[in-house]
């Protein structure tokens, strides 16, 4: 087992989310859920991150941002789409400015359902992301 499974650093980006999933992602860091127990750190910087958590869908404007952040993350990297909007566009899928889920722009490894996604599901998504990370590391190493 590599160190990736013990030290997954995350980057959170809010696409066009309603804040619901965003604050649940943040809640994961706080005392009740405390994901730092698993070595998870919210880095806030793509260059340090292993796992990109995206909440909300992509729209005309943030599509470039999502692409840029993903590109700036060093390999191996994993994308977790958190919540219905990130997975598919959710309730807003047909709104004129929404282009759909995150997988329209970048490859998604883990889809976390929910509107809003619950912290437990998000943590579960991250854990599955760790497995994907481990796999990608082994494939490139």
């Amino acid at each position: 087992m590599s160190f990736f499974s013990r030290s997954p650093w995350i980057l959170h980006y809010d696409g066009s989310s309603c804040n619901g999933c965003d604050i649940e992602v943040l809640a994961c860091l706080t005392p009740l859920y405390d994901v730092e127990r698993f070595g998870v750190v919210n880095t806030g910087n793509p260059k340090h991150a292993d796992i990109l958590l995206v909440t909300g869908s992509v729209n005309e404007r943030n599509i470039e941002i999502v692409r840029n952040l993903y590109r700036q993350m060093p390999d191996p990297k994993v994308v977790v789409a958190v919540g219905a909007c990130a997975c598919s566009g959710g309730i807003f899928a047909r709104a004129y400015n929404v282009q759909g889920g995150i997988d329209k722009v970048i490859p998604v490894d883990v889809y976390v359902p929910g509107c809003a996604a619950r912290p437990e599901s998000i943590i579960d998504g991250v854990v599955q992301g760790i497995a994907a990370l481990e796999l990608k590391h082994r494939m490139t190493a």
């Binding site: 910087n45 840029n68 952040l69």
Partner: protein, 644 residues
């Protein structure tokens, strides 16, 4: 050849080259004369040192039966007449008054026969310090002259409004070197004063080279302040003329001075402080920044200001342990502190270099004032390393200025990408000024160690000044380093910039950079063979260790630092090297050095260094320093009279 004759040849040679240069206006010929003359001067300097060998010192007089007194008066008259004439032309009042006052003193002494007959065999004095100065002047000076060929060509191309007077310019550079050689080998004070005044006039002419209202103003400021110092020198001679052997520098400074000698020592120190641009006389050197860069390089490294600290180091044994000495030291150290504070708020690169010069000289003044062998060692070390690094820096900044058309350090970002080779030279120069294995840092460290043994609150104050001042130098050099040591992609035009740097500049700046490295590598040797023995001789002290560290450690650090560029190249060539664009909150664009702008489109990345706005005010610090140092200086002169 005997030592006296080779020393006379050394002084005469640049004067002759200068005279020849004034006759030729044709560029190619002039360039050839500059190069050949420069090389001859350098060879002569090396020959002088070789002839001198490892001796402690030597005295000698003029060959034949020259009437020294009358000659000096004639030269003095010529200089005074020149100052009066040019002041009348530009309607200035102060300079002619100061010059006439000084001439009046000389005339009075000569006519009234107050001047004691000098010992004809002790007119000149060469020792290890003279040799260090001769090498500094004779090796660095010619390089600056040769560099100026390339610089001035670019300078006049980029500033067509300025009338070209390059004949005068090059001629003056060599005359300046001659005067400096004369100054550092003089033992008879009236003789030294004449050379002293020649350097003043030379620097005046060089600063006013462009003849704009602005530079003429700065030239007169320099002239006034230096003439004031010269007047102090003159008065000191009057005071000393009544003392037996008083006008013999070697006798005057063979040990701590006391009684009636002190006021004269104080006035000589005053002269040294004006010449080395210490506060409150710093503004003339800042004004001199408006002259062409080789002028700055010359004034800052091997000539002019170095004459001031040379005199102070000569006086150091005399000032040792006296209140006068302490106060001189405080003028220097306070200057160091305050100009460092000013420098952190300055954007003009040349001015930052100028403040750094004043600060480094301040350290030398501080060392000279206390007058211990350790601190004299530090002072000479700083002279050597500062001359090398600072001449390199001024020449490099001149090269950059003529290619990038900017004086502002904010516009130097990514210099490493634009002009990689010039940047390398620049980095070596800056490292020489403050980074650990390089000389000035070693000197500063030794100075701190030496100040430890200064007793009482003065010692504590000196250590505090050193601690805060050194930290400030890290800050302003660090800012400049950040600007240079950054990378971005260049356009085709930018890639071609460096190709326009002339051969003259490459060779001279390269030589100086090698000099900085070589001197650092040889710091142990320099300490053991030259500077250490000098300090021991000057203070008649018992042998001791000056470099309290194994020079091998310094050598390892130096090699490690020099290896870094190769690591960079290796990393660049590594097949796994993976380039990424920079982080800009998700807004960076993968092409060029741009990022998405808030209101659409793209925006160039612009970065501005911190200038401690709101915490340190440069203007206020300069004024405070001027007032504080002025007060200390006044106290110094007063103390010499009152305390004796």
């Amino acid at each position: 050849m005997s030592l006296p004759s080779i020393v006379f040849a050394l002084v005469a040679l640049p004067a002759i080259v200068g005279a020849i240069l004034s006759l030729f206006t044709q560029a190619t010929l002039r360039n050839a004369i500059v190069v050949i003359g420069g090389l001859l001067v350098a060879a002569m300097a090396v020959a002088t040192v070789a002839t001198f060998g490892g001796a402690d010192g030597a005295f000698f007089g003029l060959p034949g039966n020259m009437a020294l007194g009358q000659t000096l008066i004639v030269v003095d008259f010529g200089l005074t007449a020149f100052v009066v004439a040019i002041s009348l032309k530009h309607r200035r009042v102060l300079a002619p008054i100061l010059a006439l006052a000084q001439f009046a003193i000389a005339l009075y002494l000569e006519v009234a026969g107050r001047l004691p007959e000098p010992d004809p065999q002790r007119l000149f004095w060469v020792d290890r310090l003279s040799m260090v100065m001769i090498l500094v002047i004779g090796l660095i000076g010619p390089l600056i002259c040769i560099n100026a060929i390339g610089y001035m060509r670019a300078y006049h191309r980029s500033s067509p409004m300025i009338q070209g007077r390059r004949t005068v310019f090059f001629s003056l550079l060599f005359v300046f070197l001659a005067a400096m050689f004369g100054l550092v080998v003089s033992n008879y004070l009236p003789l030294m004063l004449v050379f002293w005044e020649i350097t003043t006039i030379c620097s005046f002419l060089l600063i006013g080279y462009t003849r704009t209202d602005e530079t003429i103003g700065y030239a007169f400021r320099a002239l006034n302040m230096n003439l004031l110092g010269g007047l102090g020198f003159g008065v000191a001679i009057v005071l000393l003329s009544s003392q037996t052997g008083g006008l013999d520098l070697a006798i005057l400074t063979h040990g701590p001075a006391a009684g009636a000698l002190l006021p004269a020592i104080a006035l000589l120190a005053f002269a040294g402080i004006t010449k080395s641009a210490q506060m409150p006389f710093s503004s003339w050197l800042i004004g001199a920044m408006y002259a062409p860069s080789p002028t700055s390089a010359l004034l800052h490294s091997s000539t002019m200001v170095k004459a001031g600290v040379f005199l102070l180091l000569r006086l150091s044994p005399a000032m040792s342990g006296s209140t006068v000495g302490y106060l001189v030291a405080f003028v220097g150290l306070l200057t160091f502190l305050f100009v460092s504070l000013v420098a952190v708020t300055e954007q003009n690169t040349k001015k930052v270099l100028a403040y750094s010069t004043i600060g480094s000289l301040g350290l030398i003044v501080g060392c000279a004032g206390i007058g211990t062998p350790e601190l004299a060692w530090v002072g000479v070390m700083i002279i050597i390393f500062h001359a090398l690094a600072k001449s390199l820096l001024f020449l490099v900044i001149g090269t950059i200025e003529q290619r990038l058309y900017t004086k502002n350090m904010e516009n130097l970002d990514a210099l490493l990408s634009l002009m990689p080779r010039v940047s390398a030279l620049f980095l070596i120069g800056i490292s020489g000024m403050f980074i650990a294995p390089f000389g000035i840092a070693i000197a500063k460290w030794t100075a701190i160690r030496a100040f430890l043994s200064v007793p009482g609150p003065a010692g504590a104050a000196m250590i505090l000044i050193m601690a805060f001042g050194s930290s400030l130098t890290i800050f302003y050099w660090g800012k400049l380093l950040i600007k240079i040591l950054s990378a971005r992609r260049q356009t085709d035009y930018e890639r071609s910039i460096e190709n326009r740097v002339s051969r003259y500049e490459w060779l001279t700046e390269g030589a100086l950079a090698l000099g900085v490295i070589a001197a650092t590598a040889c710091v142990g040797l320099i300490s053991n063979q030259v500077v250490g023995p000098y300090a021991l001789t000057a203070f008649a002290a018992a042998p001791r260790v000056f470099l309290a560290i194994d020079p091998a450690i310094l050598l390892v650090m130096l090699s490690a630092t020099l290896l870094l560029p190769f690591v960079a190249v290796l990393s660049w060539l590594n097949p796994t090297y993976d380039h990424s664009d920079f982080y800009a909150s998700g807004r960076s664009a993968n092409v060029g050095h741009v990022m998405g702008a808030a209101l659409g489109g793209i925006k160039r990345v612009t970065l501005r260094n911190y200038y401690l706005d709101g915490v340190v005010s440069g203007g206020l610090m300069f004024r405070t320093g001027t007032v504080a140092c002025g007060a200390v200086l006044a106290a110094m002169v007063a103390a010499s009279v009152v305390i004796r």
